[in-house]
Symmetry: C2
Subunit: 249 residues, 2 copies
């Protein structure tokens, strides 16, 4: 028996998120189906990030255990032949049997993309949140700086969460602009339910002038979801990568 | 009566190209339908570039004549309310009654995008041609340089063309790389049927080492379609913009 770690990219447009839901298309269900067919045994993957409906990934991580003799590195190209074209495994390799994608220390990086112009662009409609009003990215960055470090992010967590410990660390949070695309890039030790989308929704309020940047300090301290901005639309969000501190045998 | 010029962006994925074909979804048919509904008269647009099935646009151009009293600039936001979300008019303005988008002197810019990595990326699958083998962009640029200037591009034109004069001018032809994306950017006085896709297909042959760069000289001189490389896939191509030398009243 060996444990295999996969890095998986997908276009979330057609899926009701990562996690299996009966009768709904999910990335997890597609992975289990393709791997089970390939390896001729029942495979059940465990994912690192249960991305929401419509959220994209360049590098979500999942593991599974197999008795197969196929070399770990060959699983990536082989399973891609059986996956729909909106899911592609990027890498596959063997990891220690005790490696767990959600319990191991990691740094996750997400990007939230905003198309900021007067008229929408069809070719960006699935991958960026279209905002027609002007956004001031220097104000957005000023606000973002309050969130860097270790904080209780309860205000930035959906009330539907099951988490009891809402303290997380944000290592990096940058707001940059390239042409008409504004990108909010955030790296952290982990993220609460809807946390990146609530951060994005709050920074959008700052960017349009509705909140002063220093309001973020009070939102954090208040530990109350109703203080922060709205949850930004899912399709602007992409899980870029998950770096584990240690995993190799 | 006034003549209105539109700049139109679209995602070509769902369309059988620009030009009306009975029973098929086309961008031209959607434009005529939305404008006719908005202006309450029968509108028939005339497009600048009859892009192929699957080709995208940021700035195709079309004109139409109308008796409507709606100010020209207001047509853009109003018609967008009636268009599907994969088509968006970017600008609308009045032009002289003798302005014609195909007969007026112009410079057209296209981009052909290639995703060059070992495994495909789902979020790029509709907007870049995925090539897994290594491509040498310095060889591609060396080959591209032979095409700059005024030449008979008969070798780079589909045999299905109706054009008799196959001389065109390429002002600029650059091959650049950003991360995993290689972009072939070309600006010319006009392009023959499939010309940009045949240029891209030929540069791909150079990039993978199948053709030496100086083979382009012989391909041009031969004036024979069979000498050039294959026609690259449509979905990598985007019509970026069309600049007219003069149009304003």
């Amino acid at each position: 028996m060996k444990r295999i770690k996969l890095e998986i990219a997908y276009d979330g447009t057609a899926y009701c998120g990562w996690q299996i839901q009966p009768g709904q298309p999910t990335v997890e269900a597609e992975m289990n189906k393709a791997l089970s067919e390939l390896l001729r045994e029942e495979i059940i993957v465990t994912g690192a990030s249960r991305t929401d409906s419509g959220v994209h990934a360049l590098g979500n991580v999942a593991i599974f255990d197999t008795e197969s003799a196929i070399p770990a590195e060959k699983i990536c190209p082989a399973v891609n032949q059986r996956l729909p074209e909106d899911i592609r495994v990027q890498t596959s390799k063997e990891v220690p049997a005790n490696f767990h994608p959600r319990r191991q220390a990691s740094r996750k990086t997400y990007e939230y993309r905003i198309l900021n112009k007067k008229v929408a662009l069809p070719t960006q409609r699935l991958y960026a949140n279209y905002i027609y009003y002007d956004l001031d990215i220097s104000l957005m960055q000023e606000a973002a700086d309050y969130l860097i470090g270790e904080h209780d992010f309860k205000s930035f967590c959906s009330v539907k969460t099951q988490a009891t410990d809402t303290v997380r660390t944000i290592y990096q949070l940058n707001v940059t602009k390239n042409g008409d695309i504004i990108t909010i890039s955030v790296t952290g030790s982990g993220f609460l339910y809807n946390m990146v989308r609530i951060i994005a929704g709050t920074l959008l309020e700052v960017g349009r002038g509705a909140y002063p940047p220093d309001k973020l300090e009070g939102i954090l301290k208040g530990c109350d979801r109703s203080l922060a901005g709205p949850t930004a639309l899912a399709h602007g969000l992409t899980l870029i990568k998950i770096d584990y501190v240690s995993e190799e045998k």
